[in-house]
Symmetry: C2
């Protein structure tokens, strides 16, 4: 009998797991259940969808019909999985019971909304699904003032899109910097200033206290002051969606994600759960930088995990998911900001003493037209001299540089080794002859020598 594989969740992790399982085991019966209306899209694209820079139909790469016809995968949308019985190996959904041989749980994350009064008013939104995006787009019609709660990358991308739509935008952030946790304050401040120059307002160190209004939101109160708005959007970060895992009694780690084996199987009271795999925002990962756990709630990580979970669910030779450095990049206005490994804040959390190196330069040879600003920051561990993190702000080409630094980090290169062993390709229209990355590492080396 052909293998029956059920996937719960239709995001990057779930759809990748489903497609991988079917590709590796074409005889398998692969079924996906999702509460969402749309599948196989990137939540990262929603700010641009709201702005209209990309069409909603473009963001959604494939329809359920496509999966059924082209890939032989059955997708049930708007279908909540009511329960999973991993002893009987069945899933209950839409009033029916479906048996499985392998199960992939890829239910992703939920936007964390702070428990403040008024968060349930009309025109108060989170931004996670295409449906959220469409609702926000509609609500914005005729509205001039918008408050964004949270200055993480999605919040900032959203603020830029809203500003481009002609709105008066105020971003309210609890911490003293934008992109908290993953970016250092000095780098984050460059982005904040850039957005302030575009007319976006920031209220920092100000947790949202209440959302005010009768039926619809009319203002938001933060740090004792009131900010009028016709729409309020929470972009306050993602928490693992653990409804099904908790019902199954799966082990949750110290960072609030599921503890998994390198094969992406979950544990229950310390024992691997057979024939169950997990992938995506609900997984707690191993850090490639420090011994210990980390959360890596990124689309790129979800796809990587989806491939491993899908291959293992298909009964192929075991695939392994490795530790992560979690490189990320965001385009915010005219600047790209990217990071990898630990920020200074995270390093302190891990108990690491950090040597910082920072350098500025251009993305092209100084004389070549069109070169853009490039700021590189590199962090090294004072004890081991290993490079443990990097952040880049650039007008272009930040992504490749951060992937380059990621490769150096996961290879365990020290700052000194990097100077000897790393090389950069050079051509006047695409780079400086010595990339500023080297200057930042050299700066860090000097501080390591002190």
């Amino acid at each position: 009998m052909s293998k029956r594989i059920i996937v719960i969740g239709s995001g990057a992790a779930g759809m990748t797991a489903a497609s991988t399982a079917k590709a590796r085991n074409p005889a398998a019966e692969v079924t996906v259940f999702t509460e969402d209306e749309d599948i196989a899209y990137s939540p990262c694209a929603i700010p641009w969808g709201i702005e209209g820079r990309t069409g909603w139909d473009d963001i959604v790469m494939h329809t359920p019909g496509f999966y059924e016809k082209e890939r032989g995968i059955k997708v049930f949308t708007r279908t909540k999985v009511e329960s999973v019985d991993d002893a009987a190996k069945t899933v209950a959904a839409g009033g029916k019971t479906y048996p499985y041989d392998s199960l992939v749980i890829a239910t992703g994350g939920k936007v964390f909304v702070p428990p403040v009064p008024g968060a349930d008013l009309e025109n108060v939104f989170i931004v996670r699904t295409v449906s959220d995006g469409k609702r926000i787009q509609k609500a914005l019609e005729g509205v001039s003032e918008v408050v964004v709660g949270g200055a993480g990358v999605i919040g900032l991308e959203l603020a830029v899109s809203l500003k481009a739509m002609g709105k008066d935008v105020t971003v309210i952030e609890m911490m003293d910097q934008v992109i908290p946790r993953i970016a250092d304050k000095d780098m984050a401040d460059v982005i904040q200033r850039h957005l302030e120059e575009k007319g976006i307002k920031f209220v920092m160190k100000a947790p949202v206290q209440s959302v005010n209004g009768d039926v619809k939101v009319s203002s938001v109160t933060a740090a004792g002051k009131e900010y009028p708005c016709g729409v309020m959007i929470f972009a306050t970060g993602i928490r693992a969606n653990l409804e099904i895992p908790k019902a199954l009694g799966l082990d949750v780690g110290q960072l609030g994600g599921l503890v998994v084996s390198p094969t992406l199987q979950p544990y229950r009271r310390g024992r691997l759960v057979p024939d169950v795999y997990v992938a995506g925002d609900l997984v707690q990962c191993e850090s490639a930088v420090m011994p210990g756990a980390t959360m890596s709630q990124l689309g790129s990580t979800a796809v990587k995990q989806g491939r491993v979970a899908g291959q293992n669910a298909a009964g192929c030779p075991k695939a392994l998911f490795g530790p992560v450095a979690s490189p990320w990049v965001s385009v915010i206005g005219d600047k790209q900001i990217a990071g990898t490994g630990l920020s200074t804040g995270l390093a302190v959390w891990y108990g690491v003493n950090v040597a910082e190196g920072k350098a500025e330069g251009l993305t092209r040879a100084r004389y070549y037209p069109g070169g853009k600003e490039l700021i590189v920051k590199v962090l090294a561990d004072k004890a081991t001299h290993r490079i443990i993190g990097a952040q880049i702000i650039a007008g272009e080409e930040a992504t490749g540089r951060i992937d380059w630094m990621t490769s150096a980090i996961v290879s365990g290169m020290t700052a000194e080794e990097f100077l000897v062993r790393a090389e950069n390709a050079y051509c006047p229209p695409t780079s400086m002859v010595r990339d500023p990355v080297f200057e930042a590492v050299e700066e860090a080396c000097k501080k390591l020598g002190q």
Copy 2:
């Protein structure tokens, strides 16, 4: 007494060595001798200088006056070093004798011009110095047909610039592909087709037999056919400029470059020559990919070597120059092509059995506007499974990706390890959620498994 440091050569290696030596040892007397009129410029920029996209004064980053005033370095331009006496530790130049404590030889490379009749006619040029560029620019006035000899990256960049100036351009190449040696034919053919679409003509597998004309060139004969032209430019590759090293009896390696220690000191009959350092296009390097020698005649390598030679010449704690993978990138028309490590041709030369993986994708998420073509080719060693080379063609962002692959190569990652350990940053406007690099590596893995 302060240390006297003499540098011969004013290219990327020489000027970097001089600046590094002075920065590390501010009391040192640093003197540079060069035959060139201009110093501290990138020969890679000359095609764009000829086209007028960048001004000649922009390309030349600093004048001798700048070095003297701002950095305290004395530069003698248009000054040939007649001889070096490394026993007496003196350099003879311009009729005078200069004593040194440390000497850096950075005399670079010479354009190899094939020994064909007529190569000395008027309006026949090489392209190496700013003076060459200015002469070519002047000679091109009123000329409609130009022949470029050699389809390496400089030849192709030149062809694009000449075409943009409205010239009728024919490129004559001895081999059966453009960018021979460092690019694979399938990748090179994409670039050739792109240039053919722009109207540039190619004559392949055709060594130049003669340059014809009375006083000025009027045509070039290759593979028995005659190609009329008013200007002919040789871009036929670089050979180490060994005039001074040969006079000193320094050891030359099997690839025609100087054999050096990791401190960049040359050898004479197997013994290190004290207080002499070399840097730039005349150095034979160690390969970071295979055990053995390699030539790395790149501006980025020259700068890296210049820093090591300069620091060591200054008498600082020894700096080391490591093995190289030699990443390179070139912007040719609307495409960027980049490579690192071995090409298939070079791998065969090293006796390696290659597994190839190739993938196509885009530089941005499929739905995000402005995404450009991305072709990735990865080579792995069938015996060790190590990644030994990569080539990328992309409309944008090739450089960072090739630096990323370089880092993986010099870390000794196998193709299988890369799939587990490498990660890519993702954001719809800058990348696909799973970079095509991974697909190419996965393709290679499949072939390694066969």
